[in-house]
């Protein structure tokens, strides 16, 4: 069976949930082979084993992390050449899509971005994408080279299955071109103690209707163990950092539950959350378009509703 390469997304060896999802998709297509770039494979090994990686390629040269994007592309291109995989799966996201783009050109391969499903088909893999703000489902395949696919977070429930995780250490010589965009500083985002926005099972988001006060949004999110998001209007007003923006120009989220509070539901916002499994809206305007999408809606003042709901949820938890 052919290998399916999965680029491991990690922070200091702590593997992100999206990698477990990619390994789950990879198992449908062939033998999952994780590609770990970094020095901390010790930290990652348990995770990769428990989600079914049969092989783990390790590239530990620190120089690979000193420059933007291209070193990772050259590492993957080397492995594509060496192992002729059935596909390469990479997490969707700014960097992931850029790596995939250059890898596709380098290896003469078709590229599909932002897949929400990946299946093995008779004539090669078949992907599903959700386009035009989630209004149209597109199925597609790759006709040239090794399929390079980026997959959106939360597209599949990760399956815990033991893999052999046989390690193979390899190294490459970086081209001069790969050393032209140097990362001169890297500041990890300060932890909020909440789940990461794109990975979270529940997201509570606030918009213009918060009036700039996110305290009740954050308190309700914490009661539910949720991540906090914000609409573009709230971010543009300076009420919440851009890193938490949900929508076309921010993050795309697809949680089990999305709670939109004080958000009208403009197309730009819907593009970032419309594929959420369950949508709840709280807004004082009954005519807000968000109610057209919501499985459940409450018309009223978001601060008093969220504050009361937070108390009730916390009381239930005892």
């Amino acid at each position: 069976m052919s290998e399916v390469l999965v680029l491991v997304d990690h922070v200091g060896g702590t593997v992100r949930k999206t990698t477990a999802e990619l390994l789950t998709f990879a198992r449908r297509l062939g033998e999952p082979a994780a590609v770990f770039i970094g020095a901390e494979v010790e930290v990652a090994r348990g995770f990769l084993t428990s989600y079914g990686a049969e092989k783990v390629y390790v590239l530990a040269d620190p120089e690979l992390s000193d420059f933007l994007v291209l070193p990772k592309v050259e590492a993957l291109a080397h492995l594509v050449e060496a192992s002729s995989p059935a596909a390469v799966l990479i997490a969707s996201g700014g960097e992931g899509k850029e790596i995939a783009a250059r890898l596709a050109l380098k290896t003469g391969s078709g590229l599909i971005t932002d897949a929400v499903d990946v299946q093995a088909g008779e004539a090669g893999l078949v992907t599903t994408q959700s386009v035009f703000a989630g209004n149209v489902a597109v199925t597609a395949g790759v006709t040239h080279g090794v399929p390079i696919v980026t997959v959106k977070p939360n597209s599949v429930t990760p399956q815990a299955v033991d893999g052999a995780a046989v390690e193979e250490t390899t190294s490459i010589v970086l081209s001069e071109a790969a050393k032209t965009a140097r990362i001169v500083e890297r500041r990890p985002r300060e932890s909020t103690g909440r789940p990461e926005l794109t990975e979270a099972a529940i997201v509570v988001a606030g918009g213009r209707g918060t009036g700039g006060d996110f305290a009740s949004v954050e308190a309700f999110a914490d009661a539910l163990g949720a991540a906090v998001g914000a609409s573009r209007a709230a971010v543009d007003a300076g009420w919440y950092p851009h890193a938490y923006q949900v929508g076309q120009t921010g993050k795309t989220v697809s949680p089990e539950l999305y709670v939109a509070t004080g958000i009208s539901g403009a197309i730009q916002h819907r593009a970032g959350m419309q594929t959420s499994k369950t949508i709840v809206a709280v807004n004082k305007d009954r005519e807000a378009p968000i109610f057209e999408l919501a499985d459940f809606g409450v018309v009223g003042d978001l601060h008093s509703i969220l504050t009361a709901a937070t108390e009730q949820v916390n009381a239930r938890k005892g």
């Binding site: 996201g93 250059r102 140097r182 001169v184 076309q248 109610f291 949820v313």
Partner: protein, 260 residues
């Protein structure tokens, strides 16, 4: 300093966008316009030009005849000239084909700086900047939310999911910018009038020396099998919180759905 900005003419996102029978985006059925995210690229180019002693900004687009409107809008914002690649054979090109055509234009232009938006609002792949860097062999400095140019050095802030990075390279290079980078200007009446006199060159594939068989739907490395509208989400229950009972019904819903 010569700056080239790649822009896209896209169907209006607030209209009902659909696919044609060949599974390409139906660009005739919906009004189009300059991609909103490309306005940030044009604005950044204008700022860099205005800070340089001797600068010019050329706008490059690939698309049907109507795509000229995206160039015109950029010229109204203040760009100096435009190049429009239009050819029947381009219809249905994927990102691989489109980047091939753009790269040919950019090779001819020989710009010190190529600037792109972060993604289009229709395809939203966000891969053209990286593909252009690959094809042109230029340093890739992308997804910049803050740009500082000092002589031939470009330093940017790039906000990732888990970290913020500061990236530095020297020109010539390829830059892409996010919507956090600046506030695009609105063209004045005077600028709109002045734009009418600015030169726009129209090129075919043969003008560029691009083989028509290398681009278009049949040459794409991916194939769309189907494109189906999802059934619209049906609106669910909406309650009005008149007597303070809204929170209780909300929590009941979440309990019933097993979120609590």
């Amino acid at each position: 300093m010569k700056i080239a900005v790649c822009v896209k003419y896209v169907p209006d996102a607030s209209a009902r966008r659909t696919f044609s029978a060949d599974h390409t985006v139906d660009r005739a059925a919906v009004d189009g316009l300059l991609c909103e995210l490309d306005e940030y690229a044009v604005e950044e180019a204008l700022r860099i030009r205005d800070d340089a002693d001797d600068g010019q900004v050329v706008i490059v687009t690939v698309g049907p005849d109507a795509a000229r409107a995206a160039i015109l809008r950029s010229l109204q914002m203040g760009a100096d000239s435009g190049v429009h690649v239009a050819d029947q054979a381009i219809h249905g090109s994927d990102a691989v084909g489109t980047s091939l055509i753009l790269a040919k234009v950019l090779e001819q232009q020989g710009a010190d700086l190529v600037i792109c938006g972060m993604a289009s609002t229709d395809g939203s792949m966000g891969v053209i900047p990286a593909m252009l860097a690959e094809r042109l062999g230029l340093p890739q400095v992308t997804l910049a939310s803050e740009v500082v140019v000092k002589g031939s050095t470009v330093r940017v802030r790039r906000d990732g999911d888990v970290a913020t990075e500061v990236v530095e390279a020297t020109t010539p290079l390829l830059l892409s910018v996010t919507d956090q980078c600046n506030e695009p200007r609105y063209p004045s009446f005077k600028a709109i009038m002045a734009a009418k006199k600015k030169p726009v060159e129209t090129l075919s594939l043969s003008d560029l020396g691009v083989d028509a068989g290398a681009v278009g739907l049949d040459a794409a490395w991916t194939r769309v099998v189907s494109a189906e509208e999802r059934p619209p989400r049906s609106a669910g229950t909406v309650v009005v919180d008149e007597d303070g009972s809204g929170a209780g019904t909300l929590v009941d819903f979440l309990v019933h759905q097993k979120f609590i």
